[in-house]
Symmetry: C2
Subunit: 212 residues, 2 copies
């Protein structure tokens, strides 16, 4: 099985690396990091680069595609016709076409979410209808047909474990979960706007809107 | 505040990128990815590279150091005297010296865990006494003085949120948690050997021992 994780300028590293760490552990899987060309791709921190191993052109038929999100590069990626054209093409033969965070807006820009339920980062839910998708803001993972979208950033880990279960069965997925010791114990319980205080939601909205 | 995330050949990407995504969001923080020299560092998949932004030599006094683990490069990193010498030196002035997964064995090789409680990946707990540390296998985060160690791979996210709370206060840490939408909902509950089935524990032990 071949898994392609998409990289583009400004990508949020954890959106890509969380699922990568899960999906690469599936037995018999070749993981690829794909971009316009092999080489380093700058993330949204402006500090960390992730290396692309392959170009889109060299990856014409992945079994699984995962499009991560970004805090500053989503719009440019949505307008990148080489990327969206590649997504349309490979979706013809993928087993799963997936996204994390605002990656769903990129799938949407490629026309792949028309009329489908989908999710994204909680701050970007309002943008889903602009690409024809139906927001499902209370779900961390939303799937319909061969498309699955996840909520913001860290939700990609949950999505990837779910995908591993779909593709390889529950025991394999559980073994991957144990391998990455994913027994989450966050020290606070503020990971969703329904759980965080109003002050924390307001501060986060202001900070993230300013940086976008 | 300056945060240095260590990279070395064979590092496990999520060990580094989970904490990076949290710690870089602390207000007024400069995040650095440090290695022998700036440039790409190959992770343990043999596919994904993470880019180092600075050398150890150019980073003489970080406020926070985080050493990620590896499924195949820990021993070499423990024997890397440039790395362990740098850890000893910077630990003199850090506010926190930290690790994820087998990164604690690297801190231990630098002599920083002598007599201290610490943790690591569940499969590597037995190795902690070899570097003078006292295993604390039931804890996801263990701290003593200015040193904090986390359990395997994904535990780095929990560690980093805890650190953000220590360094910047609870509201800031909660805002970072909301920013990365860290509201974990794993589809399975097998993230610790105390929770996984005996068959899954055995399969994971066999697979990870074979790849190490």
């Amino acid at each position: 099985m071949q898994v392609a994780v998409v990289l583009y300028d400004g990508v949020t590293a954890l959106d890509a690396v969380g699922p990568y760490e899960v999906l690469r552990a599936m037995p018999g899987t070749e993981i690829r990091m794909v971009a316009h060309a092999p080489g380093p791709v700058m993330t949204d921190s402006g500090v960390l680069t992730l290396g692309a191993s392959h170009s889109y052109a060299d990856t014409p038929a992945p079994d699984v595609v995962l499009v991560p999100g970004s805090s500053r590069g989503t719009q440019a990626a949505m307008n990148d016709q080489e990327l969206t054209g590649w997504l349309v093409s490979v979706h013809n033969t993928t087993r799963w076409t997936t996204s994390v965070c605002t990656g769903s807006l990129i799938l949407g820009a490629a026309g792949l979410l028309q009329g489908l339920p989908a999710t994204t980062h909680w701050l970007a839910q309002d943008l889903l209808p602009l690409v024809g998708a139906v927001p499902s803001p209370s779900s961390r993972i939303v799937h319909s047909g061969r498309i699955a979208t996840a909520a913001g950033v860290s939700a990609g880990i949950d999505l990837a474990l779910w995908l591993a279960g779909e593709l390889c069965g529950r025991e394999v997925a559980e073994s991957i979960q144990l391998g990455i010791e994913y027994d989450p114990q966050p020290p606070f319980d503020a990971g969703h706007p329904s759980k965080a205080s109003a002050a924390v939601v307001a501060a986060t909205r202001a900070a993230m809107t300013a940086s976008a």
